[in-house]
Every structure is written in C-alpha cells, then in structure tokens.
Amino acid sequence: MGDTESGTTFEAVVLKHLDAAHNLARWLTRDPHDAEDVVQQACLRAFRYFNGFRGDNGRAWLLAIVRNTFHTWLTQNRQDHTSVEYDEASIGLEQVEASREDHLHGTDPEKLVLRAADQRLVEAAMLQLPAEFREILVLRELEELSYKEIAEIVGVPLGTVMSRLSRARARLRVEIEARDAR
C-alpha cells in the first residue's frame, strides 16, 4: 500500500466494516452511547495501527480491536454488573449442562420456533448473558464468522470457541425458557 493510498485503503478495508464494529460494540456495552464511544476509540486505534495490518481479513482485525477497546473501556468504567468477566467457572456450567440434557430429550422444536418469533424476548435473553457469551453468539450468528475467525478475534484456541459457543447456546436457551415461563 502506497503512502498516497493509505487514507482510501484504510477506508476500504476498515470503515467498510463499521456496521459490524458497531454491532459488536453495542451488544458488548448494551448501551447506544457507550457503543459509539467504544467504536470511536477502536477506529482511532485501528487507524494508528493500520500500518501494522498485514492480513486480508479487515473485519476480523477491526472486531478484535473493538473487543480489546471494550475491555479497556470496561476496566475504566466497571459497570457491567451481570458478568463476572471471563471467569469460566462462574457461569454455572453444571446447571447449564443439566438443563441442556433436559432439552435434548424434551423440547418441541416447533415451540422454540414460535417463541423465537418474539424478537424482544430473544433480545432480552441475549442481553442477560455474560459478555463472553453475548460476544461469541454475535460473532457466530449475527456476523456468521467461522470458528477460526472467532478464535482469532477472541484470542482463544479453536476448542475453546466450540465449547464456549455450546455453553453460550445452552445458557441462552435457559434464559429464553425462563422468560417464556413468566
């Protein structure tokens, strides 16, 4: 990339993915203003580090920066009450696994589809999840990224992506159930 093109190239590679960056930031911060703050900081960082960007996956690169910026922002603001960040043990794995077993043998898929039609219910359930679960579901289901891309963005091995994704889905299902029962 030549110096004269660094402006347009940055725009082509990174600003193209501004929607993805904003979507992730919004789901992580759960607040429109905070999301814009995080995206702005992230884009500024991305701009500064752009010369060091050698890959061909601008979206994954930018999303990784958004994610890191969010964590910096979080330690500065400490307001994410529902999630004990990235503490795998705190997530209540056994309970989740147990309920997952129930589901495997007892749910009617039709019913789940019907419930899913209630978009607000799904959104509320998603927002209740710990940040690491929200993040991985957004990357997989809303961004439709591959496990490999997710592993790069989140900075964990492939195996962790698979197990975390599976626990995130199980946990979301529990949240949807709980809401639906109310």
Binding site: D3, L18, T75, A117, V122
Partner: protein
C-alpha cells in the same frame, strides 16, 4: 446406525449446523440422521435456536457516527500519518527555486533529512501527548504499580520497556498505554508531577547511550535520552529543566537496577 453412536452425532451437530464439519463426517451425520428421529430432532432444535438468535437486532452504525468518524480520522491523518504526503506537497512548491540550487541542495541534503525526520518525530510526540490528554485515553492500563504496568506490555510489544515508579520523588507512575510513533508501536508510560502529565515513550534503539537533552516544541518540553539500547522521549508541559530532572531520575534508576524483573 451402527458405525456412529447418537452421542457422537450430538457432539457433531453444532459443527454441522455451523458449516464447520468436513465432508466425510457431514455425510455420515446426514446418513445417521435419516434413520434416527431423536438426532434429527436435536438438529432441528439447534437450527431453531440459531434462527431465533438471528432475529436479534443488528445494530448498524448511525450516519452521524460515520460522519463523526470520517471527520475525526481526517483530523488524525493530518497530524499523524501523511507526514510524507504533506512533505511532498510542500516540496512541489519549492521545485523551481530548488532546481536553481541543486548543487547546494545536494550538499546539505543529508543534514536536511536528519533534521526533517527529527522535526517529524517532534511533531508526532507532541501530537500524541496532546491526543492522550484530549481523548481521555491516557492509560490502557491504569496502575501506579510498576509490576502491573510492565507485564501488561508483554505480548503487546516485541520488547519489554523498563517501568519504574518514582512516587517518592514526586513523579508517581499512573499507568501505560500502547501508542504508534516513528512507524512502530511503542510503550507510553504515564507519570504525574504535581498537576502535570508526563508521557514517557520508550522503544529499542541501536544507538549508544546519550545524556538527556531538552528542547521546546509548540510550548511543550521534550527530553530525549538513550540508555541500554532504549530510546526515551519524555513529553510534558512541565518546564524543560524539571523534565530533564525526571529524565535523570529515570536514567539513574536504569543504571542501578537491582530489581530482577526489569
């Protein structure tokens, strides 16, 4: 199906639905599911959940944010990146006079280029210092503990900057962050002296040791020194003499380092 058990299939369903299964295993899963209602239901259920998640809102960036960012990046690029761009534009204005004095120009070109890169670095240092104060983005890691700040840089940089706290000398360490200067990522350590913020930029150098030298740029004091193959630049609105005092402290600390982790 006899070759693959239901348990195995259950484990593969998410990978299959996510398109992460290789062809062989995908085919054997499909074959199993044709003859197994329970596993077929499990797959259907998985897909239903996936579909449900996809109804969640996708928050696109607003046009306002987009516009704001473009403006911000334009401002940023005029201070940081296109130093060569701006240089080349200026240069074209001087083409004619310069052509008339090619011999002279060649004679002093070495001097000029060193001088220019120094000026550019000064500009970048001051811009970075000012930005760190404006953007409320002074610290990526906020801590007065050198044993917290130093490890934070591990894995983010390909070198390990010496980090020391000088709270007793009234220059407390308040944190650190990554910055981009001189075409590389650098460590920025943040100190305070009374109400003044000091940004200390550190990166590896091939030069020998150099004693602290102070100068003023756009009203900010800059002090540069080299020690143990590290380049140090301190930037602050402190007066140059005080900032040089800070540099001496830093330099002395590197000299008598007894701490095994630095």
């Amino acid at each position: 199906m006899s070759t693959t058990t239901c348990d195995e299939i259950r484990g593969l369903i998410p990978l299959y639905a996510d398109g992460e299964l290789d062809l062989d295993r995908a085919l054997s899963l499909e074959k199993h599911i044709e003859g197994c209602a329970t596993c077929a239901a499990a797959l259907q259920e998985h897909r239903a959940l996936s579909k449900a998640i996809r109804t969640a809102p996708y928050h696109r960036a607003s046009d306002t944010l987009r516009a704001k960012l473009r403006a911000q990046l334009a401002a940023e690029s005029s201070t940081v990146l296109p130093v060569p761009l701006r240089g080349s534009r200026d240069w074209s204005r001087w083409t004619l006079p310069m052509a008339a004095s090619v011999a002279l120009a060649v004679g002093i070109s070495v001097l000029v280029s060193t001088r220019q890169s120094r000026d550019q670095l000064d500009d970048q240092l001051v811009a970075s210092h000012v930005r760190s104060l404006q953007a409320a983005h002074l610290n990526d890691v906020a801590s007065s503990d050198q044993h917290t700040v130093k490890p934070w840089f591990a894995g983010k940089l390909d070198y390990s900057p010496p980090v020391r706290d000088f709270a007793q000398q009234d220059y407390p360490l308040t944190g650190g962050r990554l910055d981009y200067l001189a075409h590389r990522q650098v460590a920025a350590l943040v100190y305070r002296h009374r109400k003044h913020v000091i940004n200390l930029y550190v990166w590896p150098s091939t030069d020998g040791d150099e004693a602290p030298a102070a100068h003023v740029r756009d009203g900010y004091s800059l002090v540069h020194w080299c020690k143990d193959h590290m380049d140090y630049w301190a930037v602050s609105d402190l007066n140059p003499e005080e900032l040089r005092g800070f540099a001496e402290l830093q330099m002395a600390a590197v000299k008598d380092r007894a701490d095994p982790d630095t």
